[in-house]
C-alpha cells in the first residue's frame, strides 16, 4: 500500500497525470505500477508482464487473508488482510511464479523483461 501511495503521490507532485491501462499506471519515467486484485480466491490478472524497477501491488478483496509468495520463497508480500494492499518492487531475475501460502491452489506469474 505504501509503495502504491508513494508512486501516486510522486505522480501528483510532478504534475504529470498518471494514466492507467489494464491495471498499469505509468506514474513516472520508465517505471510502471501494476495492480493485481485478489478476489474469489484468484489473482486477477493471474499473469502480468513487468520490468525491473516496476512495482506490483496486490489488493485483497476477499474476507480470507492471502499472500503473494514466490514459488521458491525468495520473495513474499506477507499477510494481506481484507481491504489491505501490499507491494513489491520487481527485480531482474526474480522468481516469476508465485502462489498464496495460505491457499496453495491460487497461483500467478510475473514475467520480467528488461
Amino acid at each position: 500500500m505504501l509503495a502504491g501511495g508513494v508512486a501516486a503521490f510522486a505522480a501528483a507532485l510532478s504534475g504529470r497525470a498518471a494514466f492507467s491501462h489494464n491495471g498499469i499506471d505509468h506514474s513516472k519515467e520508465g517505471a510502471a505500477h501494476h495492480t493485481v486484485t485478489i478476489e474469489r480466491f484468484k489473482f486477477v490478472p493471474a499473469a502480468i508482464e513487468a520490468k525491473p524497477g516496476d512495482t506490483v501491488t496486490w489488493t485483497n478483496a476477499d474476507i480470507a487473508p492471502h499472500t503473494a509468495t514466490a514459488a521458491d520463497a525468495s520473495w513474499d508480500t506477507g499477510t494481506i488482510r481484507k481491504g489491505e494492499a501490499k507491494s513489491i518492487t520487481v527485480s531482474a531475475g526474480m522468481a516469476p511464479d508465485y502462489f498464496c501460502r495460505f491457499h496453495p491452489a491460487m497461483k500467478g506469474t510475473i514475467g520480467v523483461h528488461a
Binding site: R40, F41, D62, I63, A64, P65, R81, K82, R101, F102, H103, P104, A105, M106
Partner: protein, 177 residues
C-alpha cells in the same frame, strides 16, 4: 427481516403442530438461526484445527490447520460485525446442537490417534466436513436467507469453504501416499 423472521417462526410453529418432524428441518431455520449454525460450524473447524496443531507433526497438516483457523476466524468476525450492524443476535437451534454433539464425538475419537493415522483421519474429516457444510450452505441456507447482506456474506463464505474443500482434497491425497 424481523417481519419475515416472525412469519418464518409462525410457519415453524404451525408445522410443529401438524408434524413434529418437519420442525427439525434445516430449510425452516430463520436467518438468525442460520447465522448461529454457520458460527458454530466455523468454530468446530477451528477446534479440529487446534487439535491437529497439538497432535500432528506433519508440516503440511500444520499449514492447513493454521489456514482453517485464520479463515474461519475472519468469516466469524465478519458475521459478528454484520449481526452487530443489524442489531441482531444469532439464535441457538437444533442444528447447531446436532453439529456440536457430532463434533464432540469426533474430537474424542481423533484425540486418541497419533502419527499418520491422525493425519489421515483429520484430512478425510476436513474434506467430508467441508463437503457437508458447503452442500448445506449452497442448497439449503443461501436459497432460504431473507436478508440481502446476510446472503452476500454466506455467498462469500461459500467461496472460501469451497477453496478449503479443494485444499482438503489435496491434503487427503498427500497423507494417503
Amino acid at each position: 427481516m424481523k417481519i419475515i423472521s416472525s412469519l418464518l417462526a409462525a410457519g415453524v410453529a404451525a408445522s410443529l403442530a401438524a408434524a413434529p418432524a418437519s420442525a427439525q428441518d434445516a430449510a425452516a431455520l430463520n436467518d438468525l438461526e442460520i447465522a448461529h449454525v454457520a458460527y458454530v460450524a466455523d468454530n468446530i473447524d477451528i477446534r479440529y484445527a487446534h487439535l491437529a496443531l497439538a497432535i500432528s507433526t506433519n508440516p503440511a497438516i500444520h499449514e492447513f490447520a493454521r489456514t482453517m483457523i485464520r479463515d474461519h476466524t475472519a468469516v466469524n468476525e465478519q458475521a459478528l460485525a454484520l449481526l452487530d450492524k443489524l442489531g441482531a443476535q444469532a439464535q441457538d437451534n437444533f442444528l447447531s446442537q446436532t453439529l456440536l454433539e457430532n463434533a464432540d464425538k469426533l474430537v474424542d475419537e481423533m484425540a486418541g490417534l497419533r502419527g499418520a493415522e491422525f493425519d489421515k483421519r483429520y484430512a478425510e474429516n476436513e474434506l467430508a466436513y467441508h463437503m457437508a457444510v458447503n452442500d448445506l450452505v449452497e442448497n439449503t441456507f443461501i436459497p432460504n436467507i431473507d436478508n440481502g447482506e446476510v446472503k452476500a456474506l454466506f455467498e462469500a463464505g461459500l467461496e472460501i469453504f469451497k477453496a478449503h474443500q479443494g485444499h482438503a482434497e489435496m491434503m487427503v491425497g498427500q497423507v494417503s501416499q
